[in-house]
């Protein structure tokens, strides 16, 4: 059977499964809608958290990024898993004991201030929308590639699917759907990795295969290092970022991910503090399966890519190369007119993306108008590595289709979780807590559903018309979470003396500093200034790593200001006392 047929079958089957679950687990109350009734088992919650956490970016883009970055890609591996340790040890058990629905709830009550609550709601909305736009785009890419529909139609199909199960089920439906989605996505990620590991090395386990010998008798990583050196790239296992910058980026990603609202809210869905700890452990285990496989896929696909294309005649090149060239994610310019692909270090193009003319060149390639004069002739979009990997390795058609189903599961599960956070922020934190406290439970549920509907529409529009600054804003989201949420929550638990004045001034200074640095060095201000060059970075810190710096400033400001202003009121100090003790957590409540 063709890849097409297989894709329709597998995507159809998995979608039928998700719908079935959404209908079975319909939500009837606000509690079921927000926190799945608080009765989810740690195992189910662990899987759902893992699916929530692993987005289209983890599934589709990460291995590709690492395969082009080599050692430098470690920042994502350590950052996104290490942040989980912080979450499990410093946040999850205490927030569960605190027992409210949302992060803004915690910030608002702990710092006895509606200003603090509002700042937190705004941060949660910005972070969530940034993420969800990326997910929708991811859904669009997968649909357009595998079902051969236009990318915008792909986005619309994705919107409809998310809408149906988020609308019906709320947190309850989403949680159980995510359990199914985790199973699909991890299976889809592992199968091709295992196939390729057996093909290239003689190990079944990709994590071991990555460090094994290949046919010629040399170790795979050594072979890749020497291929890299031959072609003028930096050694794969060395990377090119400075040690300090790797350190700063990793720490910013860790603190940023620990502060992500859609993952924190997960720990409100289990019955006891003990279960919150346990499900955090299980979730990290489930995440680690994908995160330790990704670097192996990166090494396999990098080696395969170089061996397949380097110095090959374009006319002899396999079919997948031309398919991706047709979708605009690969480009080749025959700069020295020898008909062969020269793939060496350096950019092949002026600008980020290839600009195609509508003509074909001497070998039948799509001509581009923005080729530069460097020796490198090949442009490869990093996002295609995971999707193209099974094709490059000539795996059977059903495996290629399986990857499509997995990518969709990853994107949809994260999108659904984020949309729920958005709707909760609006219906609960804004309407119920601030604008209209006397709203009935039915009214609040209705408001939550309307908010989800509106949020999906906005997310879909972002997915169809991605703003040019999406990539910059995604990096900003981690920095912002690290610079604002994370210190405020941790200090709220571990420093009893921390008060409103300290936390609010710390959050504001952290966010402003981070925004300034990102605008100054990364995005620029349209019409006012261009971003400054990397040579002027403070202490050689990239904007991605600056969250670490802003976070430290936040903590220092919070500490100093809080010691100069009055201690928090007694009842707040009692809240802190009580969240430190695990017993008597009760159920998560809205009051």
């Amino acid at each position: 059977m063709s890849v097409q047929t297989w894709t329709w079958i597998l995507v159809g089957l998995t979608f039928a499964l998700y719908f079935g679950i959404a209908i079975w687990a319909r939500a009837g109350s606000t509690k079921e809608f927000y926190v799945a009734g608080g009765g989810v088992s740690p195992l189910a919650n662990g899987m759902a958290t893992a699916a929530d956490w692993m987005s289209a970016a983890s599934f589709i883009s990460m291995a590709g990024l690492i395969s082009f970055m080599g050692y430098d890609g470690s920042v994502y591996l350590m950052g996104w898993t290490g942040g989980y340790v912080l979450l499990a040890l410093l946040l999850a058990p205490y927030l569960r004991k605190f027992g409210k629905f949302t992060v803004p709830d915690f910030i608002g009550d702990r710092y006895y201030s509606n200003t603090a609550r509002t700042v937190a709601v705004i941060c949660a909305l910005i972070v969530s929308f940034t993420y969800v736009a990326g997910q929708m785009r991811g859904v669009g890419i997968v649909f357009s590639q595998f079902l051969q529909v236009d990318i915008n139609i792909g986005v619309i199909i994705g919107m409809t699917v998310v809408l149906i199960f988020a609308f019906l089920g709320g947190m309850k439906g989403i949680t159980y759907t995510q359990v199914a989605q985790y199973c699909v996505l991890i299976f889809a990620f592992m199968v091709p990795a295992i196939f390729i590991s057996i093909q290239m090395t003689d190990s079944v386990i990709p994590q071991i295969g990555m460090g094994s010998k290949v046919d010629g008798g040399a170790f795979l990583l050594d072979k890749l290092d020497s291929l890299h050196t031959e072609l003028g790239f930096k050694e794969y296992t060395s990377g090119s970022k400075s040690t300090w910058d790797v350190f700063a980026i990793t720490l910013a990603l860790m603190a940023g991910t620990a502060g992500l609202p859609h993952v924190i809210v997960r720990f409100f869905t289990v019955p006891k503090v003990k279960d919150a700890r346990k499900s955090a452990g299980l979730a990290l285990l489930f995440i680690a399966i994908l995160y330790t496989t990704a670097p192996a896929i990166a090494v396999f696909s990098r080696t395969n890519l170089i061996e397949t294309v380097s110095n090959q005649e374009y006319t002899e090149i396999p079919e997948w190369f031309k398919n991706w060239e047709n979708t605009g994610l690969i480009a080749w310019a025959d700069k020295n007119n020898d008909g062969k692909i020269q793939y060496v270090a350096g950019e092949a193009l002026n600008g980020k993306k290839p600009i195609y003319t509508n003509e074909r060149g001497a070998s039948g390639e799509r001509l581009i108008s923005n080729a530069n004069s460097e020796t490198n002739e090949l442009y490869v979009d990093r996002d295609i590595m995971v999707l193209a990997n099974p094709e490059i390795a000539k795996l059977p058609n059903w495996v290629i289709a399986l990857v499509a189903a997995g990518g969709l599961a990853a994107a949809l599960s994260t999108a659904a979780g984020l949309l729920l956070v958005i709707s909760t922020s609006i219906s609960h934190d804004l309407i119920k807590k601030q604008l209209k406290p006397d709203i009935s439970e039915k009214g609040e549920l209705m408001a939550a559903r309307i908010a989800i509907f509106v949020a999906i529409l906005i997310a879909g529009i972002f997915g169809i018309y991605p703003p040019g600054f999406v990539a910059a804003v995604v990096a900003l989201a981690f920095g912002l979470a690290a610079a604002s949420f994370f210190p405020a929550i941790v200090l709220g638990i571990f420093d009893k003396r921390m008060n409103k004045e300290g936390a609010v001034s710390g959050m504001i200074v952290g966010i402003v500093l981070m925004l300034f640095y990102m605008i100054y060095f990364k995005t620029g201000l349209i019409g006012v200034m261009d971003p400054r060059p990397a040579s002027e970075w403070w202490f050689g810190t990239s904007p991605e790593g600056f969250g670490t710096f802003a976070m430290i400033v936040n903590v220092v400001v919070s500490m100093v200001v809080s010691r100069m202003t009055p201690a928090p009121p007694m009842d707040v100090q009692e809240i802190v006392e009580s969240i430190r003790i695990p017993s008597g957590a009760g159920e998560a409540s809205s009051h």
């Binding site: 350590m78 040890l89 460090g211 094994s212 010998k213 990583l221 350190f247 285990l285 680690a288 330790t292």
Partner: protein, 86 residues
């Protein structure tokens, strides 16, 4: 200070002690072995891996998983010791 409060503050002290030790290991495995001292560790090998590279892309993650499960065990015991388990 009541009996209950004494219990609570002793519990909290032990909790902080565990957290300090676990986070120290967390730091050494990732920032230490995977980043700061990777050049030195790369002189050693684990099969086909240079050791520093292995820590950055594999080892640190295994350590993280073990850490969280150790934490769960330690805290469950601590809850029992002070009668805060349910």
């Amino acid at each position: 200070m009541s009996e209950k409060q004494k219990h609570a503050s002793a519990y909290w002290k032990e909790n902080i002690k565990y957290l300090t030790i676990l986070l120290l290991i967390w730091f050494v495995a990732s920032f230490g072995c995977g980043i700061l001292f990777r050049e030195e560790l790369n002189a050693f090998r684990l099969g086909g891996f240079k050791l520093g590279f292995w820590f950055a892309q594999q080892g640190s993650i295994y350590v993280f998983v073990i850490l969280v499960f150790v934490y769960v065990r330690l805290m469950n015991k601590l809850d029992k010791k002070y009668g805060f388990d349910e």
